[in-house]
Amino acid sequence: MITITNLKKQFGDFTAVDGLSFGIHKKGIFGLLGPNGAGKTTTISMICGLLKPSGGTIVYDDFNGQGPKSLIGYCPQENIFYPKLTCFEQLLFIGQMYGIASKIIKPKALELLELLGLKDKTNERAGRLSGGMKRRLNICLALVHNPEILILDEPEAGLDPQSRILVRDFFSAFGSEKTVILTTHNMDEADRLADRIAIMDHGKLLLLDTPQNLKKTIGDGDILEIQFENGNEQQISQFAGKLGSLSLKMTTGPNFLLIKHPNVIEHLPAIKTMAEETGLIISEFKLRQNTLEDVFIHLTGRTLRQ
């Protein structure tokens, strides 16, 4: 596992990462979320070895003493490749730069190109690929030296839906055997992929848990809107009064009731029973479950970042 302890990074007077401590398990997909300027990229750069920490430690346990250069494959947010080299040539070149023999790299490069849907483009110059293909090539370049840890910065940015599914499946398969660390602004992506999610802001860790636990415990919760066929505002208020015993947040209207709770689904049978007891006939339930985005906004606020 990767153990990060009291990690700090300062650029002059500005503190980008401020005493970060957490662990990343050897297998699985770890999501690092935060608004712009939260310190995600700085943290990742320190894990990769691109930046020197101002303080704290990063320890790579259970990786046979390998240093970060061999251990880590980094796929930056921006597509970085050699536009004048073919897909195969640049995979071969990058593999060689890690000191791997050509006879090992060549089959690995071909395998990766096939896995990420670029087999037909093996001998195509990278500069001529479409945006989605360039993104997939970027992922291949991070993997050619067979790293134990794959770090992805906004991996699905610029991908079409088909490519997104392909890449997502690939990450899931990779994460079942090795370690994936991803940063993203796409909460849906993080929710679908990550086993554990750390939310950070202003260089500090705010929360670290599974997506399910985060959604259950943080934020205003699920929103249930109940529309009534009959009844008036007084009856609806009376009904709301009964529901107060369940500690639910509510808003009443002329023929509807809004209920907010982190796990409102559990209370649905009781709500239905109480409505019937009050003489109200429910015409429609509208349920919007608590999302990771709600959790994120709850923790980091709505203020736009630089």
């Binding site: 691109l50 930046l51 880590i72 930056p76 921006e78 970085i80 050699y82 536009p83 070149f93 060689q96």
Partner: protein, 388 residues
């Protein structure tokens, strides 16, 4: 293996940037062609050097030196005629004059004998047997020498007649110069243009280095196990090959247009290889202070201008020595390797000198190359490769 990987990758990229490569490789041959046209159509000027060996005499306790008078006569004749193509210059000694003749910096050398005044004075005082000697040195097959010598001879006789009122008192002897004197003006500019073809490497090399920064692929290399030396060495090797091909193409063009070389081609290639390395090392400094090919093209113009026009590459340049090291003059232009490379090529290709005669130039090129590489390497690493 990593360095071979960088070589292969850099070679592919270089070949595929064919417009930059084409322009770079064609610059030397193009300059050869342009200079050929210039030399063929340029207006002639005849440079005559004079060594005044006249010891003079005392007449009425006043020093009298007809050698000096003759020099003044030459100058006055020039002024009188106006746009004369003859330029006379006094120099200190015979060897300097011969060196300048060999380098085509002059067309004829005149040595005034020590007894010049004494003989003229004797003839003036009616000693009808008194004769004096003047030596003309130059390439007897050169039309420039012949024209210079005829004019100078006329001037000397006219001066003698004016001074002594007598004719036939000056005996002219001619000393032919060696084979180097048979070299044409076109031959003389070729070594400089060979170096111009290498100076153009400054752009391809700088762009090759800075492309990694511009494409941000330097990030991938920083993450890998590639060392700074392997990175710079791999790209530098390909650029050195480009430089040597450029020199060969330039030389071939010059030979086709009538260039006659004297010395060893192997030695020429060694000088070209060392100079290429030096230009590549200097390019590293340019790459270190820039972040894109566009910036290289803007920033690189200044050193290219200096290297082309202040080292003697584009045309012969006179420079005064700041000091000498073991007899080798060190000039301000000597801080730029093309100065030494041109000197070395002149010595080998024009004067047919062997390797022992160009050791100072070779040492200067190597020292400057190391100096450029260290400076460029440090700045490049600090700006583009170092972890922050």
């Amino acid at each position: 293996m990593k360095i071979s990987g960088v070589i292969v990758k850099s070679f592919r990229e270089q070949v595929r940037s064919f417009w930059v490569l084409l322009l770079s490789l064609s610059m030397g041959p193009f300059f050869i062609f342009v200079y050929f046209l210039i030399m063929e159509s340029s207006k002639p000027q005849y440079n005559i050097l004079v060594v005044n060996g006249d010891s003079g005499i005392l007449e009425n306790e006043q020093p009298l030196n007809y050698g000096k008078e003759l020099l003044r006569y030459f100058s006055a004749a020039n002024l009188e005629i106006g746009s004369t193509p003859f330029v006379t210059t006094e120099i200190g000694d015979r060897n300097t004059g011969i060196e300048k003749l060999k380098n085509k910096h002059a067309d004829a050398l005149i040595i005034i004998s020590g007894s010049f005044t004494q003989s003229l004075d004797a003839r003036k005082h009616h000693d009808s047997l008194a004769l004096t000697g003047i030596e003309f040195i130059g390439d007897l097959t050169s039309s420039n020498y012949l024209i210079s010598a005829v004019w100078a001879n006329e001037m000397v006789n006219a001066f003698a007649l004016l001074t002594t009122h007598s004719k036939r008192i000056v005996e002219v002897t001619e000393t032919p110069l060696g084979i180097s004197a048979s070299i044409s003006g076109f031959d003389m500019i070729v070594p400089g243009i060979l170096i111009v073809s290498l100076i153009m490497l400054m752009f391809t090399a700088s762009i090759a280095f800075v492309a990694e920064v511009e494409n941000k692929t330097i990030l991938r290399l920083k993450l890998s196990k590639l060392s700074t030396f392997e990175f710079l060495g791999g790209i530098g090797f390909v650029q050195m090959m480009v430089g040597i091909i450029s020199v060969i193409l330039t030389l071939f063009t010059a030979i086709v247009l009538g260039f006659h070389y004297q010395g060893s081609l192997i030695l020429m290639l060694i000088i070209a290889g060392l100079t290429s390395l030096s230009i590549i090392s200097f390019s590293l400094i340019i790459a270190a202070v820039t972040k894109s090919a566009n910036e290289v093209l803007v920033v690189g113009n200044f050193p290219m201008f200096l290297f082309m026009f202040f080292t003697g590459a584009a045309f012969p340049l006179k420079s005064d020595a700041l000091f000498t090291v073991a007899g080798y003059p060190v000039t301000l232009q000597g801080l730029m390797t093309p100065t030494h490379a041109i000197s070395a090529l002149n010595k080998t290709l024009i004067m047919n000198m062997d390797v022992t005669r160009i050791i100072p130039e070779m040492i200067a090129i190597i020292v400057l190359t190391i100096f450029y590489f260290i400076i460029g390497g440090i700045i490049f690493k600090q700006r583009h490769l170092k972890l922050t």
